[in-house]
């Protein structure tokens, strides 16, 4: 037989838990990361501004992205975050390779690992030219 006190104590505890759950839900939502400009940002670089051999870093859909034009004039775009420990990689124009300044990982133009500790290639990003402007993303 459950007595009145047990019911009272359990009810208060249940109310407390409900209040905690509500507060937790509000707090968790409040602290959840807000997507920053997903799909809103457009990379606006005139195609002719990027000469053969040059590279530029842009932010595409919230992610740092490298756009490189090779010596033959073809465009390449890769995520600029090193697959080793997340540092930002840079295009070395003289050595014609992508380098990570943190732990010397090196990548080829297509993202494949040339050397260093990086476990995976850099992910490619679709790139093209539309009306004289470089376009990144699925549409191109």
């Amino acid at each position: 037989m459950v007595d009145r006190r047990t019911i009272l104590v359990s009810s208060v505890q249940a109310c407390g838990l409900a209040a905690l759950a509500s507060g937790g839900y509000i707090t968790a939502n409040y602290l959840a990361p807000i997507p920053e400009g997903l799909g809103e940002e457009e990379v606006e670089i005139p195609a002719e501004r990027l000469k053969p051999g040059q590279g530029v870093q842009v932010v595409h859909k919230g992610k740092p992205t490298l756009i490189i034009r090779d010596r033959e004039g073809e465009l390449h775009a890769l995520t600029a975050v090193c697959t080793h420990l997340g540092c930002l990689v840079k295009w070395n124009e003289d050595a014609e390779r992508i380098e990570c300044p943190c732990h010397d990982a090196t990548f080829a133009l297509d993202g494949t690992v040339l050397g260093g500790p990086a476990p995976k290639p850099l992910p490619k990003v679709p790139v093209g030219v539309k009306e004289g402007m470089i376009q990144l993303g699925e549409k191109t």
Binding site: R5, T6, V9, S10, V12, Q13, A14, L17, A19, I26, T27, N29, Y30, L31, A32, I34
Partner: protein, 349 residues
Amino acid sequence: MSGLFPKTASWLEERIGLGDLIKRTLTGYGIPARATGLPFCLGGLAILFFLSQLLTGILLLVHYVPTSAGAFHSVERITLEVPFGWFIRGLHSFGATTMIIAVMLHALRVFFFAEYKNPRELHWVTGMILLLLTLFLAFSGYLLPWTQLSYWGSTVGTETLRDIPLIGEQCVQLVRGGTNVGEPTLHRFFALHVVILPLAFLGLFGIHIYFVRRTGQGGPPTIRPGEPKYPFFPNHVAKELLVFAIVLFVLTLLIIFWPEVREEPADPFNTPKHIKPEWYFLPSYQFLKIVSPKWFALLLQGLAVMVLVLWPFLDRSEERDIRKRPLLLAFSILAILVVLGLGVWGHYS
């Protein structure tokens, strides 16, 4: 320890002696049985709202940017973009007002029940300083959204210090961190609001509670020694939590149906019309407006605050029942009416 989690409770009890700790500090502590009504829940309500302010303040810090360039936009972002940001900000804003009201009403109860008398003088002194800290907390937080109202309200508020004889200008510059309210003022108020004043409040609150525990709660003036006690925990705390829950519910309704009005960002080159301080500074604001010279008005206000803080040492009568002291009763009610009248006058002037 029963309830939903008996195993967890006994596990904790075995390791940290939770039950023993609770018995020594909470359930074993009794308050006068006649000191358990709504007026005796106001102190608990004030501290529960302080904790709520602490929690919502920490959450606001996650998104708030304490610079003149970023403050306004970060508060806009919290209100308009962050999930439940409007609620957290509303609770912090309404919570500040509620906390001030709770502390004031708590102080009024202690005054009218003469609970400050021997040996409880220090309850009152620490309590009055806590009330002042609460007001400073509210004032320092008012600037942080960096809106036109908060900017110019803080300008007017800090400007009053200029009338302090001899050191007025230095006081204004010290508070502002410069000649005008600007970036250094925001940084100073931010440091005061989120670190210095809350720490001071918590420390003094600990001392306040120590005094209350040491010499006991006064209760109504007609109380006699040997009257039955009432368990502070869980009985009285449950009452305080219930009052807190009801007030929180009312605030939630206010936040939903009376949301913050969108404001303009601070513009140091454009003073809007009718700049007034928040309601709790209106009596002081109106008093400064009508009494001249200003240094005299400031002196009178300073004296009034000193009298209030040191009141237990000025009131030497042993009679606790204010109904048997008609002169004090009449003077107290008159003083409250004057303060309220000045506030209303300040609001409509």
